[in-house]
Amino acid sequence: MAGNHKVEPEPWIVLRTRALESLLIEKGLITTEAVDKLVDTYEHDIGPMIGARMVARAWLDPAYRVRLLADGGAAAAELGVSAANLVVVENTPRTHNLVVCTLCSCYPATVLGLPPTWYKSPPYRARAVIEPRTLLREFGTTLPDEVEVRVWDSSSDVRYLVLPERPAGTEGLSEEELAALVTRDAMIGVANVQAPAAVAG
């Protein structure tokens, strides 16, 4: 229809994906609309803002913090978040936690959304357990030897989320303001939460 223009061959993976979708539609198992809707949910409704809200709540409410550390799934449910088998591990002045999945790429998707590509990459999966301090330095997080590094390799159906330390200089901030400081990377454990001045600067 568009004259003599040449059609570029589709990359094979685009064709394979379309072939599978086409067959599954034909079998009556999926519809394009259902697929679109599920993808949209993960793009718009589920992301690190959910985990950040839990972290900010724990910083402000000591009783919630205790419940969050005792049973992450139940504490998530209090905020209307469905996150079964969630274990929350707390950073302290003496302990820094880091989450990885060496065998595949398990990730607390219900509270952080889809993982970044680096989390799923061979260098991260390979190195997090053997040289976590070196890895953290590459992320800009340098820890003194006195701070113990605790790596959590999520090899089961349990998912780990790091409760980062609340930075100094955040007294008087609201839950929303605190949540805005909490990054995905801090909840994976490759970064610390920066105080607002540091964020602005």
Binding site: E10, L24, G28, T102, E138
Partner: protein, 230 residues
């Protein structure tokens, strides 16, 4: 399986490459793969253990060169074929057809009878056997078995034969090794077991660090009792 997917402690991959302001997907086909997998979820055609098993069976060179969602697509095809929902010939024919005419529209959705026929060969979900009583408590010293099963396992290579301490009791979950070998649903207690970095990496260990990994009860013995080469 001592596969290339079991990456903990491997060396030579270089620095972690961090993409700033990374989009959720790098291409539309990735969105379609994620959406299809979620859309198929309620049919319980294959579970997460079976998904991982097929990913681990990718030829190693292909595994390493594939993107994350390409591995999902590979596993989805393999599992749909294994469960009789699709045939390899059907997939190949549809790919060939799209190669000839990439612009062809998607087909009209099949009806309920077609869907039922596609799912007719699914095996019945096995009944879980009773879980054995919990064997370990937090603080117990344990040793991971030194075993090298050819099938799917979540017992990562870098902790096999090593001694650690039970950190947390995580709950009762089906043993992936058994399920993926057709041995049914065998629930057992899963523990977060903490290993000192020196126990894992010897003199190469970084200072003051521990690695915890989730291990099923049958991966463990009380420390000092595990037979090597069991």
């Amino acid at each position: 399986m001592n596969g290339v997917h079991d990456m903990g402690g491997m060396q030579g991959f270089g620095p972690v490459v961090i993409e700033q302001d990374e989009p959720l997907y790098h291409a539309d086909w990735e969105r379609r793969v994620v959406g299809m997998r979620r859309a198929l979820g309620p049919y319980r055609i294959y579970n997460v253990d079976e998904s991982r098993k097929e990913i681990e069976r990718m030829p190693p060179a292909r595994y390493l060169s594939a993107s994350y969602y390409e591995r999902w697509l590979y596993s989805m095809e393999a599992n749909l074929v294994a469960k009789g929902v699709l045939t390899r010939a059907e997939i190949d024919a549809r790919v060939a057809s799209l190669e000839r005419d990439p612009s062809q529209p998607l087909p009209a959705p099949g009806d309920a009878a077609t869907a039922a026929a596609a799912l007719a060969q699914l095996p019945a979900t096995p009944e879980p056997v009773p879980a054995p009583a919990q064997r370990f408590r937090p603080g117990d010293r344990v040793q991971a078995h030194n075993v090298h099963p050819a099938g799917h396992t979540r017992l990562a290579r870098y902790v096999r034969g090593r001694c650690g301490t039970v950190e947390r009791v995580l709950g009762v979950f089906p043993l992936p090794d058994a399920y993926t070998q057709g041995q049914g649903v065998q629930p057992q207690t899963v523990y977060a077991v903490a290993f000192d970095a020196r126990e894992l990496w010897g003199d190469s260990a970084e200072p003051n660090s521990r690695v915890s990994i989730d291990l099923w009860e049958s991966y463990l013995e009380p420390a000092g009792t595990a037979a090597t080469g069991e």
